[in-house]
Every structure is written in structure tokens, then in C-alpha cells.
Amino acid sequence: MGCFHSTATARARRRYPGYDHPMQLASQTAFSVSEVEALFELFKTISGSVVDDGLISKEEFQLALFKSKMDNIFANRIFDLFDVKKRGVIDFADFVQALNVFHPSVPMEEKIDFSFKLYDMDNTGFIERKEVKQMLIALLSESGMRLSDETIESILDKTFSDADVNQDGKIDRAEWENFVSRNPSLMKIMTLPYLKDITTTFPSFVFNSKVDDIVT
């Protein structure tokens, strides 16, 4: 494989810490080089919306998602999963690697993995009932719907009798996989069909493709 540490890449890394050459990222993901370049256009917009430091902060992520600053436990959880290096910011490589899971052609196994981690809010390796309750209440509040605690508990009862096969009050990885196979609509959020059209939504200009930078 060629070396991608060209001067252009070095320059990009100064402005966008953690930047990796599109060819490098394309080789590690389901994206093509031009798709990674298009993602870079999107990344530039999002990462520069509050502070132009070449990194996406939690606030910038919220702005991108809701077009306004909004503290949402799900968006925050997704941000935390994107932020693999746990620095409170997402760099371009993180961004591409994370969005890769949502690509239509990535195996379902990876999507199931991500969704399990998503709902296992406290990282115990289990999705506990109290976590699901917290998430359900957040969704109801977000929707302007209010249900009694009794009703919420009965919704949880039904869900857990369905998903929690060994009835230990929590859902483990195997139970989650089983539950998802019986309720495939749960995986809808894990695929972004728009990723296949990204080059038309975010066209990058030809001179960004530095083919001559490749040192073989």
C-alpha cells in the first residue's frame, strides 16, 4: 500500500486534527474515495459551525442534528459512541469510521453491535430495565406525550417478557440479537440510505482529489 503522508495531508492535519487521507479511510470502510471526500465537505460544515477547530463538539453535533442546540440523551449517546478516543470531540477519521456502520452495505452484525452499545447507556454489557425506562421517558417527553408510571411499567413489562428470555431483568447481547431478528424494524435507524447519494448532496470539487499526492 502506498504511503499517504503527503504534504497536502500534513497540511490538512494541521487544520483538521486526526484527518486521514480519503484513500486511507476508503480502504478501511465501505465508502469510496469520492464518498469520503463528500463526507469531508459535510464534516467541514459541521465542525466549523461553532468553533472552527476542525473538530466536532457535542454542541456542534446537536446543531447538525436538530438545527438548534438541544440536549437529547440519544444524540448525546451517539456522540459518545462516535467519540472513540473519549476526548469530547469527534475528528474526521472518527466521523467516517462511525458513519460507516450506517452504510447500507455494512453487515447487520456490526449494526446490531452498535445498537446494543447505544442502549447500554452505562456500559455494563447489559441493557437494564432502568435504562430502557429512562430512554422511554425521554422519548415520551420529546414527543410531548405523558403517560402514567403504571402505563410505562406495563409497556416495559411487555417488552421485557418478549426480549429478556432468561428473565433476569436485563437484556444481554445474545438476547438483543434474538430480539432484533424478531423485530427487524428496530434496525431501521442503523441504515442511512442517503450515504449512497452523498456525492450528489455534498459535491466536492475535483481539485480536492489529490491523485498526484500518492507516493508509491
Binding site: 459535510l42 438545527k67 440519544f74 447500507p104 422519548l139 414527543s143 406495563s154 411487555k158 424494524s185 431501521k188
Partner: protein
Amino acid sequence: MTIKEMKSDTWFSKNYVGVRHGEDENVSLDDVQAAFDNIEDKYVSEQVTRNDGGPLMMNAFEMITLSQGLNLSSLFDRQQEYVKRQTRFVSRKPAKTIAATIEVVADSMGLKVHSQNYKLRLEGVSSNKMSPFAVVLEIFEVAPALFMVDVRKVAGDSLEYHRFYKNLCSKLESIIWRPIEVSAKSALLRTTTC
């Protein structure tokens, strides 16, 4: 020179194809169908499990996936204003009553209704008559005798959709279930939600 004289001139009739009136575009039903189907459905094969012919049961996780915070497709949205997508309400009426009431109201609003298995498509035109306007309502059972109606726009302008939704809710008062306690905060919530 009159129009009639112009039209009979050889210069005019060269390569002229007259406008045919009264011919409607042949709209393929597949296109209409595709426009209303959720694009994400194509990537997930849905196993429809019906509860004795009633609405689909929605479990806690299915409700959670409705969150706007889990809808990353809005990252690719180039529009700049906040689009409220949280349009849903709860009802304690029987599912058949909910569906029937929606149909009657939609009809009174001048919308065409396509209904199938507790999923309703309401079609119309925008207020300026220039573009199509369509919404999809789906009824789900979230708990015994408790139903949630999820409403989303599938065609048309966002601003128009929100006006429509407010109008729809005011007409559906009889079936919408509201929490009993009214605090100042929830009263404010109610003006912006259903």
C-alpha cells in the same frame, strides 16, 4: 394580423404541434406508492405481526427509535431551520374508531384518503396549488387499549405541514388523550405539540 390569421400562416404551422387540452398525465401508481413508502423500509424486511387484525404492537424499543436524536439522516439535511418532527399523539379510543375519525376529518379537510391496515395516507395539494401535499398516519398499540398515532409528512412544505398538523389536532380533539395534570409548562408544551 389576428391570432387566427397567424395560426393559418404556413410559417406558423411548420413543425407546430397543438396543445391538447383535457389530457392528464399518466401517473404510474408505482411512483405514487414509492413516494409514500418509507425509504428505510427497503433495507429492512418487515415481518408484520398482527394482533388479531388490529394495529401493530409497538414495544418500548420501537417507540425509542422514533426519537429525533436517533435519526441521523438529518445530518444530511441542508435546510437551516429546526423542523419539528415530533408529531404524534395518544388515544384511548378503539383503534377502529381512531382510524374512522381520521378518515372523516381528512375528508372534511378536502384530502384524499388511502387506508390500509391502520396506516393512512392523506393526499392533497399545497395551499398555492403548485405542489403535492401528503402525510402518513400510522396507528400503533403501545399498551392494552392505548394507541399512539404517528404522523409524518411525505410530500410538501414543512411549514405547511405544521399548519396542517395543528389544524388536524384541533379537529381530532374527541379522540386525543391528554394528561390530566396541567402545569404552566405542560400548557406551553400543548400549544406546540398535539
